[in-house]
Symmetry: C2
Subunit: 249 residues, 2 copies
């Protein structure tokens, strides 16, 4: 991690990085592991969100972009701040206290963390480890894990916010490749909201939206009838969005 900046000891940023593999919603977690230097025994081994303290000389939003770039190499990604977590005891679990003592980075006892979620097209991303292992987990699995600190609570809030906002903001497309099929889009809405959707109604509605633009290309490499590809035109969206808060799906 970059150490040429001074950090603010009381404030960190945690990024909930969402991805979609056309089957499930996934999230990136970072392994937190500490081995006894003498015996090699595992003292701590669990997972955290991707986070770090903010630097004194960067905007809060930039801290989130930095963390995201450090872990994925990606820039110009959709990032949304969804909450700040500041319970006194949020790092008070025994395991967390032990961890903080072991890594001994001089962070304050009291740390507030600002949560951001990122939406990325996971078909084209390589994860960077920087020492700690980092991997994708299906949301369902991640939601059952015992994460570090209050990260389970943060993950929950991120998911809730995503669920709400995906209905009124055109953010689902951030999780898909530039060219996608309507079935992929439908599946994405289904896994985010947890509802299943009628195919005909879904397609009828999408085809009416001028900013979902049909392309001439079709899928290839599939062993069934290939689907037409679409792309989301932000330009048309910005020009046609009407004032009402109507559901976008």
């Amino acid at each position: 991690m970059n150490t040429s900046h001074r950090t603010i000891s009381n404030v960190s940023v945690d990024c909930v990085i969402f991805g979609f593999d056309f089957e499930q919603l996934n999230v990136i977690l970072v392994e937190r592991e500490y081995l006894d230097p003498l015996t090699g025994d595992i003292v701590i081994k669990d997972f955290t969100l991707a986070g770090y303290h903010i630097f004194e000389d960067e905007d809060l939003d930039n801290a989130a972009y930095r963390i995201l770039k450090d872990r994925t190499g990606l820039e110009n990604i959709y990032l949304e701040q969804f909450g700040t977590f500041g319970k006194i005891d949020r790092v008070a679990k025994e395991k967390d206290q032990l961890w903080l003592k072991l890594i001994d980075q001089g962070f304050a006892d009291r740390v507030l963390t600002v949560g951001y979620f990122a939406l990325i097209d996971s078909t084209k991303v390589k994860l960077f480890s920087h020492g700690s292992k980092i991997q994708w987990f299906p949301m369902e699995e991640a939601r059952k894990m015992e994460l570090a600190f209050d990260h389970q609570e943060i993950l929950q809030k991120a998911l809730e916010t995503l669920r709400k906002n995906v209905r009124t903001e055109p953010i689902a497309f951030e999780l898909l490749p530039q060219r996608f099929t309507l079935t992929q889009l439908q599946k994405l809405y289904e896994v985010i909201t947890g509802n299943s959707i009628d195919k005909r109604n879904f397609r009828k509605k999408k085809l009416q939206m001028p900013f979902i633009v049909p392309l001439k290309e079709k899928e290839d490499g599939v062993s069934h009838r290939p689907a037409r590809l679409f792309h989301f035109s932000r330009e048309i969206f910005d020009n046609t969005r009407n004032e009402r808060f109507g559901n976008l799906f």
Copy 2:
């Protein structure tokens, strides 16, 4: 302000306290004034949101409740966190730097602030000054004022969040007395959203909502036909809210 606690120098909370006087949406601002101790000339005189640094021994949410109680005496008030503001230059305006130097409270150069908004029934609240004057301003006026720090930006975000959330969460009632008329409720929605609403359609819809309960009482002291009073039953709301995100107004 309470000084028996140690504060966290990098983190503050600002409260946007909304009220409704049956005509407009109002917000509480605190006067920031500094007089030259020799000449008595006004060096700084403007307004800020109600805010303070958080204490080391309180949860983040509790800091917001504390500030609210200090200023209004109220407890058990609806409070919602809506964003955290952490641009590097958010306290860099010349006037703000001067202010920080003059009050000399040892706060850090870099302060992040967490924004909460409160919804209160302003028919029964007295404001507490604690040295600085504090008063209600109509939103329209407040939105044009040059507030301290980045408080104009914070106010804007608070208002946006209120506008969005009032459609899907039963929070409008927090701004009204326990017993209210439908016309008051309608006016409230109108001033929050900025749209005007058809009276018959509005009433038809409200009367279908089981948690808006008609009372036997009517208004009195008005020089026209008195209106029926209603109250919002949270209990019925909790039992009848369906899963869909349908607009609540």
